[in-house]
Amino acid sequence: MSKAMTLLAVVLVSGGWAQSVMAADPQYARSLAATCFTCHGTEGRSVNGVPPSLAGQNKDYMLKQMLEFRDGKRPATIMHQHAKGYTNDQLELIAGYFASLTPGRATPAPAAR
């Protein structure tokens, strides 16, 4: 039995996560979208709407915007440079993640001292 198979057997006995192995990381879309949170707010809920909130955005609309940024069809200061860093599949996962969220309330600013 190969080393990998031995490990697989151990994993199957201890956790039964074979399906997880096949599905890879179930949080992959979340990890991709989290790269956007820095500017667009945690879970895409922007502090004061600049840059815009993404939570609850329509998936097809958002994907179209990112592709247009990437291809230079929609003018931007910075988004064309970011959009070029992701594959089509990644952009679709990101759009799908934000579409799955409820818009919710804006993220409050942190408390002053």
């Binding site: 990998a4 490990l7 697989l8 151990v10 994993v11 201890s14 956790g15 996560w17 997880s20 192995v21 096949m22 599905a23 890879a24 990381d25 179930p26 949080q27 992959y28 979340r30 990890s31 991709l32 989290a34 790269t35 956007c36 949170f37 820095t38 500017c39 667009h40 707010g41 945690t42 922007s46 502090v47 004061n48 600049v50 840059p51 200061t77 910075i78 440079q81 970011h82 070029k84 860093g85 992701y86 990644q90 993220t107 409050p108 600013a109 942190p110 408390a111 002053a112 001292r113």
Partner: protein
């Protein structure tokens, strides 16, 4: 979706590690493990928040010596009089409200074998995963006259926002009109590559308004402006024309504190305000914990998990890491490290697969005045062949020009990244 053998092995070994971890966890009942975060800056505060947000059943403790979070980004605007300390100073209460234990103390030792962090106040914290985001320490030993605390209080760096920011602003306010401000920049890599050049703009903006006869001498140890060169030169040769004397290849040898002079190898430069930013390395706790792997300065990490390459079970984030190719030491990057690390730590503690396709993004704005800013951006993806994270070809870039529109985006970036770390 298929999983490569390499990815499977990585996941399986992480899971095996998790089994051992769960066996020794003694957190509260129902706890999925204990995470101790050392350092509450851009990296550590964000990591603590995201571990708790993505796994509320993990006990998270954040150790930070300062009472408040004070942001380095935007602190140059305080020097220029375009922002106040209150604009960049925030409470850690938002993290407490999330159920994170925030301890105001310093870590003095990590015992990786016992999985314990010892604090200066005497408390010992047990962990299943430790996250170190200790920031930088200045290499004062390279500038002989700056070894004393007295000298350090007179020749300021203001490269950690806080008391030094306030003190340098006071020095600039006290300077006579017609005086000379000298900024000495260390060799890269250092915290915030465009930061020194932004500072030159902010001081020039202040001088132009308040002390128009004053001059700025920039002593750059580097052979050229290392970030947003064309954009900074446009400001220096435009709105600040005649105010800035930029001198590349100007490595510091020493300072004469009484004579207010920066000593270079073949030249002495006198000023009314000297602002010397020393070379930097990972903070002392990283040295004491055996996390330094490169040039006696930086901590090597696995870019899919941010786990130290030297000490198992300990993750390292932010400016103290050995930066990957073309990755700046920035608040944005520390924020992105934190989320990659938090996702990996949660997955490891819960026996879930760890993402091997790490993506990170950088966005750094610089203000050339009070109401005009520009950016540099990049996107980075893990390269399994090179075992590092590298810029995605064709992505990223800089502004076409500084603008007021980008100043609004820069403030939007700041407000969102602060909330992303602290709320």
């Amino acid at each position: 979706m298929t999983v490569s053998r390499r990815e499977f092995m990585k996941w399986a070994s992480a899971s095996a590690g998790m089994t051992a971890v769960a066996g020794c966890a003694t957190g509260g009942s129902g706890s999925a493990g204990r995470v101790v975060v050392v350092g509450g800056g851009y990296g550590g505060a964000t990591a603590a928040k995201y571990v708790k947000m993505w796994a509320p059943d993990i006990d998270v403790t954040l150790v930070e010596p300062n009472q408040h979070f004070i942001s380095c980004p935007i602190s140059n605007l305080v020097l220029g009089g375009n922002a106040q300390m209150g604009d960049i100073t925030f409470s850690y209460d938002g993290l407490r409200q999330r159920g994170i234990r925030v301890i105001r103390d310093s870590a003095v030792a990590i015992d990786a074998a016992q999985r314990q962090v010892r604090l200066a106040g005497g408390e010992t914290l047990a962990y299943d995963r430790a996250i170190m985001s200790p920031g930088i320490e200045f290499m004062f030993d390279q500038i002989p006259a700056l070894k004393s605390a007295d000298a350090q209080n007179r020749i300021l760096h203001a490269w950690k926002a806080g008391a030094q920011t306030v003190a340098l602003r006071k020095q600039l306010e006290s300077m006579r009109d017609g005086g000379v401000y000298v900024l000495q920049i260390p060799l890269a890599p250092y915290r915030c590559p465009p930061g020194p050049y932004e500072r030159v703009c902010q001081v020039a903006d202040y001088f132009k308004k308040a002390k128009p006869k004053s001059k700025i001498i920039v002593l750059d140890s580097n052979p050229d402006i290392i970030s947003k060169k064309g954009l900074f030169l446009a400001a220096w040769n435009g709105m600040y024309k005649g105010m800035i004397d930029y001198r590349p290849n100007s490595e510091i040898a020493d300072v004469d504190v009484k004579g207010m002079t920066v000593k270079l190898q073949f030249d002495n430069v006198k000023g009314d305000v000297l602002n010397v930013v020393p070379a930097q390395r990972a903070a002392d706790i990283a040295v004491k914990s055996g996390l330094i792997t490169a040039n006696n300065r930086w901590c090597g990490i696995d870019w899919t998990t941010c786990e130290s390459t030297a000490v198992k079970g300990v993750h390292v984030l932010g400016d103290s890491t050995l930066s990957a190719p073309a990755m700046p030491k920035s608040g944005s990057m520390a924020n992105q490290h934190a989320k990659v690390c938090a996702a990996a730590v949660v997955a490891m503690l819960k026996g879930q697969p760890v993402n091997a396709d790490t993506m990170m993004m950088n966005t750094c704005y610089s203000f050339v005045s009070g109401d005009s800013a520009m950016h540099v951006a990049s996107v980075h993806r893990y390269d399994p062949a090179q075992k590092t994270i590298a810029p995605v070809k064709g992505s990223g870039g800089i502004s076409s020009a500084a603008s007021s529109a980008e100043a609004a985006y820069a403030w939007g970036w700041a407000r969102n990244i602060w909330a992303d770390a602290l709320v």
